[in-house]
Every structure is written in C-alpha cells, then in structure tokens.
C-alpha cells in the first residue's frame, strides 16, 4: 500500500528539495487554518500527528443515503510537490461503494487526471462526500457493486447500510 510509504517519501524529499516542500508546507498549513475556520458540512480533517503531510479526515454519511449514520475515516497524504500533484486519499473505514475498493482506494478523476493545484482539501472533501449521494457506477472500482447499483438499487442500498452499521459506527 502506498499509504505508509507516502509520509516517509515526503519527509525524505524534504531534505532533497527545500523550496518545494516549504512552499507546499505553507500551502498545507494555510489549508488547515482555513479548514478549521470554515469547515465544510459533515467533514473534518487535520494532521495526524506532527506531520503536516499526513492528515486524517472524517466524513459523516449524509442523510438520505445508505451511508447515513456512518463515520468514515480517510487517510490523506500530501506529496512533497503538493499542490502540483494531488494528495493520496484512502478510506480507512470499509464502505460498500462502487468507487471505493476493499483497500479503501478511491477512484476519482479529481484525484488523478483532473487534479488542479487550485483545488484544496476542502473542495476535495466535498467532492468525496458527494460520491456518497451520487456514486458513479460507470467508472467503478468495484464492478460488482456498480452493476448491482444499476440493476437493483434497493438491494445495493440495503447492503450498503448493512456495511455502514457494521464498519462505520
């Protein structure tokens, strides 16, 4: 998994490239301040420990979805060349979702090709939160869940809320 290696990568490159890290550090710090001052709904995020490049985010399953009532933890690790490269986001809480695989990896265009340096963690969390309400079964990471979502949404929602009760509470 890339999650454990990401912080070490960031810390090792801190010595390699001071300017990029310091600029990304400033950026991340500012994002943290803004996130604390104006947190998005049902979201919170912050550094895991004293490492600015490793965050933990918490998402609350929005009402009206099978994920309602669940608390989902995410690992966010910032590359040293953040924000020019997207952060790596991984669900540490298991979730029954066609766009999140069993390892917690997230298939979002925003985290890959359509990442923009202008995006912030706040916007990213809001985007992740939006997949709770609107899964994208046409770009699935777990095709079986996507198929079920398209063919039998009731069954899909039932299974999803089951997983929510089981893993996310």
């Amino acid at each position: 998994m890339t999650t454990p290696s990401a912080p070490s990568l960031a810390s090792s490159s801190r010595w390699a490239s001071t300017t990029s890290v310091s600029s990304s550090g400033k950026r991340i710090q500012r994002e943290m301040v803004e996130l604390n001052m104006d947190p998005p709904p049902d979201c919170c995020a912050g550094p895991k420990g004293d490492n600015l490049y490793h965050w933990i985010a918490t998402l609350f399953g929005p009402p009206g979805t099978p994920y309602h009532g669940g608390i989902y933890f995410l690992d966010i690790s910032f590359p040293s060349d953040y924000p020019f490269k997207p952060p790596k986001v991984v669900f540490t809480t298991r979730i029954y979702h066609c766009n999140v695989d069993s390892n917690g990896n997230l298939s979002m265009e925003m985290l890959k090709d359509s990442w923009s340096p202008a995006l912030t963690i706040t916007k990213l969390l809001l985007a992740i939160r939006s997949i709770f309400t609107r899964p994208d079964p046409y770009n699935p990471l777990v095709p079986s869940i996507a198929r079920l979502y398209l063919e039998d949404k009731a069954k899909h929602d039932e299974l999803a809320s089951e997983w929510t009760l089981r893993f996310a509470k």
């Binding site: 600029s23 950026r27 924000p83 020019f84 202008a118």
Partner: protein, 341 residues
C-alpha cells in the same frame, strides 16, 4: 531673400572660422554676420508668429521689450564669447551658463535640449519646441521669467509654433510684421534662434545652407523633412509614441479588466503576489497565479489550474525563443504580460 544671402555668407564663412591662422577679427565679423542673420530671421519668425498672437496684451510690450534688449545683448555677447571658448560645446555651455545664473532649475533641461537639438539644426526650431518634451518649454520659461516674468506668454509659444506652421503660406504674401507684435514673439524665440543659428553654423553647415534657401522659396521646411511643422503634431505622435500607445491600448486595456478579481496572494502557494505576478495573466480564463507556480506547472502539467485547459501559449518559451514566428511570439506576450513591453 535677405536672410538667404546673409545665411549663405555666414555659411561660407564657416570654413574660414575653422582656420587656425584667422584672428579674432574674422571671428568677430562672423559673429556680427550671425547677429545680423539672427535679427533678420527673428523678424521673419515674428512676422509669422504675429499672425495668431494678437490676443497678447499690449502692455507686455514695454516690459518685454526690455527683455528683448537683454536677450539680444546676451545672445550677442554669447556669440562674442564663443571664439574665446574655442569649441562648439563651449559655446553651447556658455549660453546656458548664462541662463543658469538666472534660473537654475530649468537650466539642465534647456542644456540637454539644446545639445540634442543641435543635431537638427534650425529646422527643429519650431518642431522641437512642440515635439520635444520638456527642453524647449523650459527654455521658454526661462526666457519668460527673464523677460519680464509674464506668464501669459508661457502658453503663447505653442500658439506661435502653431501659427508658424499654419501660416507657412501666408508668410510670403504678408509684409513684415507690425512692430508692436515684435516683442511678443521676442519673448519666446530669441534664445532659440540664437541657439539654432549658433549650432547650425558650427555643427551643421549644410543645413544652414539648405534651409534658408527653402524658406526663400516659400517652403521653410523641406518636403521630406521629418520635422515639418504642418504635420508635426501627428507626426510627432506617430514617431515618438507608437510603442507606448500600443502598449497602453493592447496590454493595458484588456487584462486590467480582471482587476476586480486579482487575488492578493497566489492561490497555489499562498505567497503574496507582487506587481509582476498581479500583472501576469497566463490564461484567458482569468485565473492568476504567481510566476513560480506557473513555471512549475509549465514544467509538468501545463494546464491552467482554473479551467484545466492546457496553457495555449507558453510565455516563458515565447520569450526565450526569439526565432519564433512574429505572431506566435507577440501574441503570448501581449496577452500574458502587461508590464513587459
């Protein structure tokens, strides 16, 4: 015309003055010739200038006349001093040191202007006075302050210059000026004429021969003369200001429309944007970022963070690749950079 012959005589005298064996007498004689020529030319200018300056007050005349006498003496004395100075620059400096004693603040401008104008000869007399920025103006101010301290004439020199340009044709038909108008233009021109003729014969002898001949034909300005006063205002604008104008219109206009949304800090790195950054508009979508971040993006992604479209042009490359096509070279610069010209 009278001036023609006189100028020719003085022009012919120029090579003589260059000789080593000639004494002060010869120089004094040429100086006198010059003074005569000055007076005649002055009359000409006055007759032209008088046409459009009838609004000048009569009461100036008495005061100004005194100034005329002074300036006459001064220019003559200056001419007399020149042989002692020995060099062209010396004469110019002498002239202006004279003014330095009177008005200190204006002297540097007038000095530089006269030195610059020395390349143009007498032709620049009117043209330079309206085209060149501050030099002649200060010169006139100096003269005004000396010749009675009348502020009304400060604006008149431009009118006189215009009148000279406008009345180029009527000048021939009109007789010599009425004497009461003489002092008005006198306050404006004597210094310039003194400088002009002085420099003409010292620095540019060919001009002194050509121009008076032309004036004798009724054309004070050669048709191919770039400083023809008739077209002078337009020409001066076209010649001297095209770059700055174009810069203002093309570069200053469009991008500053985004002024309202210019962030104070780079949205990418949160560093404060300096003036170069705020005037840097790499994408038409209006997304601004600092040059460092833009460079960084250009290295890898190459897409605008705002609209996710690839940057159509790469200002960094466009600036370095001089051999690029003129269109592809200019477009990025005019679109992306405001401050750079």
């Amino acid at each position: 015309m009278v001036s023609d012959s006189i100028t020719r005589a003085s022009a012919h005298a120029v090579p003589n003055t260059g000789g080593r064996d000639l004494g002060k007498k010869k120089r004094a004689r040429s100086a006198k010739l010059k003074q005569c020529k000055l007076d005649v030319r002055r009359e000409q200018w006055l007759s032209q200038g008088a046409m459009k300056n009838k609004d000048c007050k009569e009461e100036q005349n008495s005061v100004v006349k005194a100034g005329k006498e002074r300036s006459n003496n001064r220019s003559f004395g200056n001419l007399e001093m020149r042989p002692r100075g020995g060099q062209i620059d010396g004469s110019i400096h002498h002239h202006h040191h004279h003014h330095d004693s009177d008005v200190e603040s204006n002297s540097p401008n007038s000095l530089t202007s006269s030195v610059l104008e020395s390349n143009y000869s007498e032709t620049t007399f009117t043209s330079s006075s309206s085209s060149s920025s501050g030099g002649c103006c200060s010169g006139n101010i100096t003269e005004d302050e000396e010749g009675g301290g009348d502020d009304g004439c400060l604006d008149d020199w431009e009118a006189v210059a215009d009148a000279l340009a406008a009345d180029e044709k009527p000048k021939n038909t009109c007789p010599e000026s009425p004497p009461e108008h003489e002092p008005i233009a006198q306050t404006v021109f004597p210094q310039e004429t003194a400088i002009g003729s002085d420099q003409v014969e010292n620095l540019n002898p060919p001009y002194s021969r050509v121009i008076p001949k032309a004036s004798g034909n009724g054309h004070a300005w050669r048709p191919d003369d770039a400083f023809r006063p008739q077209s002078l205002p337009n020409l001066a604008n076209q010649l001297s200001l095209p770059n700055s104008n174009r810069k203002h219109y093309s570069c200053g206009g469009v991008p500053w429309a985004y002024n309202g949304v210019v962030p104070s800090s780079c949205p990418i790195c949160y560093e404060d944007l300096d003036f170069t950054d705020t005037s840097f508009l790499p994408c038409l979508c209006g997304f601004r970022l600092c040059l460092f971040c833009h460079n960084r993006i250009m290295e890898e992604d190459g897409r605008c963070p705002g609209c996710r479209k690839p940057y159509e042009h790469e200002p960094v490359e466009a600036e370095t690749s001089v051999h690029g096509g003129s269109l592809t070279f200019r477009l990025p610069r005019s679109c992306s950079m405001i401050t750079r010209s």
